[in-house]
């Protein structure tokens, strides 16, 4: 899977009620997924401001994935619908900026879907590996 020295950095925003619990279940079930994925817990996927995604890219992330409850199953009833619309808009903005489509991803993972969580992460990281380093949005002025 690895291409040369490149080891991508992937930020995953996971909602507390479904996806973070799904990640926990993947952990308890000892399902392997790449260490490149670093999870940030949010109460709901709708807490993810598209600016956080841009910030991650600006700071050098190579991929950002947002995970929430399945549509209709949101703990806050409607939060993931907002996420879906916001991220759809973000996709087109990133596309306009010239950021490869595969670097951002939105996925629904329930608390019972440990296997899905691991599968999604494996697939996403592989995809980011194929895209290579994020050079377009990374802001070198942000590097210390």
């Amino acid at each position: 899977m690895s291409v040369g020295e490149f080891k991508p950095l992937v930020v995953a925003f996971c909602c507390n009620w479904c996806s973070y619990a799904g990640a926990d279940l993947a952990g308890t079930s000892r399902l392997q997924y790449p260490a490149e994925v670093k999870i940030i817990k949010v109460p709901c996927s709708c807490r993810v401001n598209p600016l956080f995604v841009l910030r991650a890219f600006q700071k050098g992330a190579d991929g950002v994935i947002i995970c929430g409850c399945h549509p209709g199953d949101c703990h806050y009833s409607t939060g993931n619908y907002y996420t879906r619309r916001r991220i759809t808009l973000l996709y087109s903005m990133l596309d306009y900026l010239g950021i490869e489509k595969g670097r951002t991803h939105l996925e629904w993972v329930s608390a019972a879907e440990g296997v899905k969580f691991a599968t999604v992460m494996n697939k996403f990281v592989e995809q980011v590996y194929e895209l290579g380093e994020n050079r377009r949005l990374e802001d070198w002025r942000c590097k210390s």
Binding site: L31, A35, I40, R86
Partner: protein, 648 residues
């Protein structure tokens, strides 16, 4: 700058075997603001917690980071420890280096590196943590049980006995559920109705229980302690108060062609009907899809014969709204559809399911308990049971799980036949016979050894209905041979699944559901009767396949948890609520429109958050165009700091 203490847990070898905890401690010490870092074998132990408490005092810590298991496990533990040390409990952050590092990464270097990064992110966040103070919310001392089967009845009775009012909502005309349809129960062979009906009567008669039969949940609002739920009482077209339950109406009803749901469609019922003789309440309903009067305006025979004038053809659905502190889901199961299992010739009248057999062998059933073939009404010479129809089936058409009850009810069915009709030969095709339960294996062995039931290890590939008899193309795995077995009646141990409506109910209550439509528990071992959604509890098969003794035991456990909630006068609310900075608010009120709880009020060109209503999702914080709205505990700055720390 904060004075931060970092504590890294070994979790025995759970973490320490893969993650170099000493390296994590050393790396943490280099982070700004960290004045103390240490590791410990079990931080959640009393000694571990005391170590944190001591360190807070000794180093004057104002923030604590615990790198250990998931916050879903021990966040509360460490917050309580911090509170003991005099810190605000919300000055604690957890970095999850067990579920997210040591348990999933085999490579120690990867695991350690990632643990360092996750700990760094938690340190960055805790720098921006502010003391938070939970508010209080009231508890409505009333529970709602959805589903009136044995699970729902038992939960309701236990809660009612503790002195709290309980409402049961049941979608069918009577409570009783699947257990009311069963003939005998394993492993004692006592009569199902004999042990269930007294409970049904108790539930109806209990001063603390209100039954809403033929009713469904329409709408759910609110949260733990304060749910507002609308119930739709479907029109029965019969006045519950006036009806005496004499039964003259259904005797006279000229429509006799509707399949009886209670009898599994084995016989027909009338348009006005009571599902079964011991129904509670004993008040009939009119099936509006069948009734001539409701469809064409003619007939009305039942109205004419009803002396107490209980028939009300213009009755409408009624909506009732009530407040509850807790909701219990006890919606139960159905057998799966056998549509996709064509090889078993379920369309043949002599191939039936386990539940249909229950009715066929029941003295109150359509044949009066006389076991006959439905095609020619003849007594079968042999009956063959086939196990695991759709259970333990990884193809898309079946269910991957074991339905748990079939091995035992098949042993029961087989014994009942051999007991009543010793001349009938009984065969059972099985993959494995699973009998983990008190007196279960003894029961199964009795069926084979004392009752002479012929157990064949193997599966049936195809059933061919040949009129006089059925031919089963099958394999005897132990004998190592293919065989064509001729039999007169086949019973399919059909997989069970949660009722379809549970998805809608779970969605209304925002309770999680798994890929097989079973309700998810808050923790599979430690919180088996609670849903992850506070105030929502689980009882019976909606949570996973189980038999009657297990269901009753779980129903009691659920009731205990519900009572534990209802005895409280106040609940602590989540302090991670939204907050608007009035200096930045431009009064656009976009936030008020996205709030699912109506927690944001727009007043005088500025918005205010009602902390009692806010549940802390953060939708408003992202919507706010001027950056005035933020979420405490997950603020823009905190989340950005985590992003920065991870991407450094």
């Amino acid at each position: 700058m904060k004075r931060i203490g970092v504590f890294v847990c070994h979790c025995g070898t759970n973490i320490a075997a893969t993650v170099d905890v000493v390296k994590v401690v050393e790396a943490a010490k280099l982070e700004p603001g960290v004045v103390h870092a240490a590791e410990y074998p079990y931080l959640c132990s009393e000694a571990g917690q005391n170590m944190i408490i001591k360190a807070v005092d000794e180093f004057g810590l104002t923030g604590v980071v615990v790198s250990a298991c998931s916050p879903r496990m021990h966040e509360t533990t460490f917050r309580k420890a911090a509170a003991k040390a005099g810190l605000n409990p919300f000055m604690v952050e957890i970095s999850n280096i067990r579920e997210q590092c040591s348990w999933i990464h085999k490579d120690s270097k990867d695991g350690t590196e990632k643990s360092i990064i996750l700990t760094r992110a938690a340190i960055a966040k805790v720098h921006l943590n502010e003391p938070l103070h939970p508010g209080e919310s009231k508890v409505t001392k009333r529970a709602l049980v959805i589903g009136g089967g044995i699970a729902g009845i038992q939960t309701a009775l236990d809660i009612a006995e503790a002195g709290f009012p309980v409402d049961i909502v049941e979608s069918t005309p009577s409570i009783g559920g699947k257990m009311a349809q069963l003939d005998k129960t394993f492993p004692t062979l006592d009569c199902s109705a004999c042990i269930l009906t007294p409970k049904m009567v108790d539930a109806a008669a209990h001063e603390n229980i209100t039954l809403h039969t033929y009713s469904e949940i329409e709408k759910v609002e609110g949260f733990v302690g304060d749910f507002t739920i609308t119930i739709r009482k479907k029109a029965r077209y019969v006045d519950m108060k006036n009806c005496t339950g004499c039964g003259l109406c259904y005797e006279k009803c000229p429509v006799k062609k509707a399949p009886s749901e209670f009898e599994q469609g084995l016989i027909k019922r009338t348009a006005i009907y009571t599902p079964f003789a011991q129904a509670v309440p004993n008040v009939p309903v009119i099936d509006k899809t069948q009734c001539i009067k409701l469809k064409t305006g003619k007939c009305g025979l039942c109205e004419k014969v009803c002396t107490p004038k209980a028939i009300v053809f213009d009755q409408q659905d009624e909506l009732i709204t009530e407040k509850y502190g807790a909701v219990i889901i006890a919606t139960g199961y159905d057998q799966i559809s056998l549509e996709k299992f064509g090889e078993y010739s379920y369309n043949s009248p002599d191939v039936i399911t386990g539940l249909e057999f229950e009715r066929l062998t029941n003295a109150a059933g359509p044949t009066g308990g006389d076991l006959i073939r439905l095609s020619d009404k003849k007594k079968p010479r042999s009956v063959t049971f086939i196990q695991c129809i759709g259970s333990r089936d990884t193809s898309k058409r079946g269910k991957p799980y074991c339905s748990k009850i079939c091995c035992m009810y098949t042993a029961k069915h087989a014994m009942l036949i051999r007991d009543k009709y010793p001349q009938i030969e009984v065969n059972v095709f099985y993959i494995d016979v699973r009998t983990p339960g008190k007196n279960f294996d003894e029961f199964y062995r009795r069926s084979a050894e004392e009752y002479g039931v012929n157990y064949i290890k193997g599966q049936v590939g195809k059933i061919i209905d040949q009129g006089e008899f059925l031919t089963l193309q099958s394999v005897d795995m132990l004998g190592g041979k293919r065989m064509d077995l001729q039999t007169d009646l086949v019973v399919l141990a059909t997989a069970i699944e949660p009722v379809k409506s549970v998805r809608i109910i779970a969605s209304m209550l925002t309770a999680s559901i798994d890929t097989n439509n079973f309700m998810t528990e808050a923790h599979p071992k430690l919180k088996p009767v609670e849903s992850p959604t506070a105030g929502v509890f689980l009882s019976g098969v909606c949570q996973g396949p189980k038999d009657i003794p297990e269901t009753v035991a779980q129903a009691g456990a659920t009731a205990a948890k519900v009572i534990g909630l209802l005895v409280k006068d106040k609940l602590m609310t989540n302090p991670c609520t939204a907050e608007s900075n009035e200096k930045f608010c431009n009064g656009c009120s976009a936030c008020t429109k996205v709030c699912p709880y109506g927690a944001i009020a727009y007043d005088d060109g500025i918005v205010h958050v009602n902390k009692a209503l806010c549940q802390g999702c953060g939708a408003c914080a992202v919507t706010c165009p001027s950056g005035a709205m933020d979420l405490q505990g997950f603020s823009n700055r905190q989340l950005m700091a985590e992003v920065d720390a991870i991407c450094r």
